[in-house]
Symmetry: C2
Subunit: 157 residues, 2 copies
């Protein structure tokens, strides 16, 4: 079969990216997490679409909520635990979750199984968005040079 | 297993919706097409997320492109034919497609197989978006009462 051509896209043709914008000790907590930026590969700018693989122990993010960004995920394989204010729920292939901008219900997903899990994550791209972390000593601040990570008392990481 | 609670969502808990905003004879061309509005069910407003089932012969839309709306689809099961300016490509489970706002490459998908196909479709919600239909005698016009469908010579449907 001939390779797909844009606007069609085979996710396997998009390089996996690892790493995190968090400072330590948070960055390492994400564990085995790889993302293929599918929306970027198609030239989309209004929202991002990532195909995420979480290895055993990997997590999607720190528990957080966004001020202006809507987020949505759809599980494709494996299972993860979704953690929110109300506790924990297992998400298996075919299940979804949606996090509306401004809803102060911090969320993250963690793979507590022994096999990789994959999901699609979608997030709107909105200028001026911020994220808050109810469980962790992290906030984002901005000076003339740009956005930086700080402790909640204001000290920079 | 207990039912999922928001922000988690089992797509099966969201009612299927049929129908189309197109006038005839275009509406009937969509065939067997049902959508579950997952993003709305989660309270999202910045983009829509629909789980779409296309029966045999069903199609996603008329061939079109958007001025301001980014669109993205991810195939979940079955297969569809994606039709664009450059011709046709088969999309099977796991394959994706992304349509950037303003790219004048009209697209639609049609299920030419004998079994249903399912996919996730995501579209940004942007005021003032318009869509154009290179193959069909349809355009959207606006008067003080709202948007209406017209022939390309301006006569209302």
């Amino acid at each position: 079969m001939a390779p797909l051509k844009l606007p069609a896209l085979d996710p396997a043709s998009v390089p996996e990216q690892r790493g995190s914008g968090y400072p330590e000790p948070f960055r390492s907590l994400m564990g085995e997490r790889a993302k293929r930026k599918l929306g970027d590969a198609c030239g989309l700018t209004k929202f991002g679409v990532n195909l995420v693989t979480l290895g055993p122990g990997g997590q999607s993010a720190l528990r957080h909520w966004h001020t202006l960004e809507d987020e949505f995920i759809c599980m494709l394989s494996g299972e993860v635990m979704l953690v929110t204010n109300d506790g924990e729920q297992v998400l298996r292939a075919g299940m979804c979750a949606g996090y509306a901008a401004g809803n102060r219900d911090g969320h993250y997903m963690v793979n507590r199984s022994g096999v990789p899990a994959t999901y699609l994550e979608i997030g709107s791209r909105i200028d001026g968005d911020n994220a808050f972390y109810p469980d962790d000593d992290l906030m984002w601040c901005e000076d003339e040079a740009g956005v930086f990570a700080a402790h909640k008392d204001g000290r920079r990481y």
